[in-house]
Symmetry: C2
Subunit: 407 residues, 2 copies
Amino acid sequence: MALIVQKYGGTSVAGLDQIRKVAERVAGVYGAGNGVVVVLSAMAGVTDQLIQLAQEITDHPHRRELDVLLATGEQTTVSLLCITLESMGYPARSLLGHQAEIVTDRTFGQARIVGIHAHRIKALLDQRKIVAVAGFQGRDTKGNITTLGRGGSDTSAVALAAALEADVCEIYTDVDGVYTTDPNLCKSARKLDRISYDEMLEMASLGAKVLQIRAVEFAKKFDVPVHVRSSFKEEEGTMVVEEETDMERVVVSGITYSKNEARITLTKVPDQPGVASKIFTPVAEAGIVVDMIIQNTRKGGLTDLTFTVPKSDYPTAMAIQKDVAETIGAEQVLGDEQIAKVSVIGVGMRSHSGVAAKMFTALANENINIVMISTSEIKISCVIQEKYTELAVRVLHSTFGLEDEKL
Amino acid sequence: MALIVQKYGGTSVAGLDQIRKVAERVAGVYGAGNGVVVVLSAMAGVTDQLIQLAQEITDHPHRRELDVLLATGEQTTVSLLCITLESMGYPARSLLGHQAEIVTDRTFGQARIVGIHAHRIKALLDQRKIVAVAGFQGRDTKGNITTLGRGGSDTSAVALAAALEADVCEIYTDVDGVYTTDPNLCKSARKLDRISYDEMLEMASLGAKVLQIRAVEFAKKFDVPVHVRSSFKEEEGTMVVEEETDMERVVVSGITYSKNEARITLTKVPDQPGVASKIFTPVAEAGIVVDMIIQNTRKGGLTDLTFTVPKSDYPTAMAIQKDVAETIGAEQVLGDEQIAKVSVIGVGMRSHSGVAAKMFTALANENINIVMISTSEIKISCVIQEKYTELAVRVLHSTFGLEDEKL
């Protein structure tokens, strides 16, 4: 019999009715003779409500204490699930982060798991108990409560699956699985049966919000098979697994997009050593993450330098660069918030050439101008004007033959 | 400088405004150079809401899991208090029951504290931190979360004060202190400056809901001075302390009453060995606590036997006794829910005679019939008809000279 870790997100445990459905699904898997560890998020909206409550006190709640407050969310759902399972006649025990000995560093609000002592869970499984673990939370080495940041329950689940050497980690969510692109935007988007960890990492970081990126990193590192599936349907979702030989037959697995970035250009920057440092050091010091950077050398020792930042940091970054431009003698600072990034992802690119050329041609055929380009081993991203986003996604989806053949 | 444990009840932390008032009071005491440990209840009504939520799933929620759920209530208030204190510039750290190492037995829902390892709290106090401990909760020796039952935060506070050898344990509540009787019922009721542990025990068990009885037992056992006072006023409340010589000048300290009991009488019970056991064993097995028992021997080897039970257990107890009466050959089972118990309490009774006679005379003068009598070293209780309760309390209050002289 298998050992299965199941994780249910906030919408799957949003109320007592939903929790009962989760309990029935868990009971089914347990009843078939499997060992089951269930990882739960807080009820949908609860974490945000708690943050809001704390922010009514102060804009910057003490981080250690905020984690104590937030941890109540998952504590509530695991106890309610166990009460439900017990009332149905199934033996169930809840464990909070510290009881499950999910040990993290001390970065309150964004803690990273450093280890899991799984002996208590294993002992409960040996007694044929269903174990419900509060996701999103852990403890540091001194016993302080920590939380893992937005989407942290995914990471809890994958880390537990790794520590327990579970056969599979099932991530139950409100979508069916991982799609070739956003189905809301492209009707012919197709659900993938399998996707590699590396592709999923690129997907996650580019805006497909199915699975937290750190959870995928964990899964890849410890080789945990992850099954992303719907908590409202029985059918299978998408397996996120180690890259397999037959995966390479597909060159491109998915198209993603992001509208959350803005572009900043400094024109006529003196092309001298140390200039890039002067431009990017104050941005980094402001805690702003720069994504793409492009520099075009021009005549006369002057260059244009363009980079992208998250839209939310755009005003701060612009203000910083206006000071920088004066200091380094650049001509002007131009900004553009009306941009989008579309990306083509696939492990097949490793062995196939011509993907970039095919992408650029497809966009050119629609008169979509490419503002910036960046590439990795398994990804090509183009920055375009925001208004072309939907068109670009659909064209690329079709160009790389990702359509659902059933349609 | 003193070490002070303060406990605030649910109405004192009912919302962010009230929590800010608590923070200001705590900050004042801390700012004067004292060490402060704050014990909090859940927000008023929250524990009941959580119980109700669990009971929507099942009438008998799994007790271990219910405690996990209930423990979120105090977790919320301690974190909010610490966020508030930190936002005001005061260093504050919350500790949950398990972090404060409040170790209990494994009686979920009604756990008893078996020990407190106070080293972590002491270390935080040494660093001049304000420590906020979640009341009502602890952990068993295996790390399971337990709760102490209704009013358990009082016990948490007194136990912490004992473990820390605090100078005083202040219980902040929505009343000014301990009164000679219920001020809602008797306008001339007077706030007591001091009361002994023993008197307070009698008061608590007889219906003055100021302080949980187990908290008083703890305070007496470890000689913790307890100060019951209002969280909405600055003035001093009532000190609950070891019996002192000058206390004996007052013969009677207070009058209490309870309307929560019902009376059951078995008539013409064969007066044989083993009969009492046959009557009371099934009642005990049903988990019903019997308070007073009176037996009158009559002629012919037959006796009437009367006892009181909590009103909520009355239907069950009546049903049991009807079976019992048949088995043992008693004539009939009579019941009365329209009764009340009025009690006169005072350590001075130990050295003064005539209190009982004075009490009976006072009631007789008002034509109040005494149905049952029970006495302890420092208490005399009479069961009367319920409709005379208010009259009896006022008459006894006046008879023993307890009026507020300011009125």
